[in-house]
Amino acid sequence: MENLIGTFHIDYKILIAQLINFTIVLFVLYKFAYNPFLKIMTARTGKIEKGLKDAEEARKKLEETETKEKEILNQAKKEAQIILESAEKMAVKSKEEIMENAKKKSEEILSAAKKQLEEERKKMVGEVKAEIAGLVVAATGKIIDEKMDDKKDREIIEKIIG
């Protein structure tokens, strides 16, 4: 040991003084550099953690927003699809209604035309019949006037009262 100390020329006094110096320096550093540095570091760490946390929250929010956006988009798509289907149905329905109304109207027109035609036909037939009847009766009346004499008239009367 003695040899070792001698070899390295270690001086206990200097060593103690250096130790005291080191302690003082360490104390000074601890007091004036380490604590503020620690505070700064802690604050920075806090800030960084907060930043990371904020970033995480922002990411989450972004994800949520994206999810919501997707949901809204899907909902909108569904609604649009429903509206489209409804519109299609309405279009089909209104088309059917229009067709039905047109069919009904055409049937009515046809029926009215047929009725009118039938009435005109009846009227015409009636007029022809009336004309023929008038002619027949006029001709018969004329024949009666020409052929009727007292004898025949008496015979008719006797037939009535006989």
């Binding site: 009636g126 019949k129 009336a130 023929i132 009847a133 008038g134 027949v136 009766v137 018969t140 009346g141 009666i144 006037d145 009727m148 007292d150 025949k152 008239d153 008496r154 008719i156 009367i157 006797e158 009535i160 009262i161 006989g162």
Partner: protein, 133 residues
């Protein structure tokens, strides 16, 4: 009190009942005088109508209006009278014969409200109606 046309007619009917022609003439003359006195000459047509109805009812006579193309007379008129007498169960007929060529033949007999139309004009009308159907 006012005397009605029916009452005048009834009185005349009673006054002439069972009287001879000359007596009836005298009754009628007096009746007309009474009407003139009572200022009823204007109602004489109505009184005569009432008298006819009362007289006919009393003597079971019906009034018949016959429309024919020619005037009815002789056996045919007699036959018609008998036909109506039998039909209405009466003793006499008061016949009014209207000549109308428009009926073309046959007869139209009206007794009261009943009309028997046996005219050729009616048959022609029926023929026309049948042809028009």
């Amino acid at each position: 009190m006012k005397i009605t046309a029916t009452q005048y007619a009834q009185s005349l009917c009673e006054a002439t009942e069972g009287k001879s022609h000359s007596e009836i003439d005298s009754v009628v003359e007096n009746f007309v005088k009474i009407l003139a006195k009572n200022n009823q000459i204007k109602n004489i047509g109505n009184i005569i109508e009432k008298f006819k109805k009362i007289w006919n009812r009393k003597n079971e006579i019906v009034e018949m209006r016959v429309t024919s193309k020619e005037k009815l007379s002789g056996p045919l008129a007699e036959k018609l009278n008998n036909f109506i007498k039998k039909k209405y169960q009466v003793k006499g007929i008061s016949m009014e014969n209207i000549v109308d060529e428009k009926i073309k033949g046959g007869i139209v007999v009206q007794v009261g409200d009943e009309v028997m139309d046996g005219s050729l004009a009616r048959q022609l009308k029926e023929l026309k109606s049948f042809l028009q159907k």
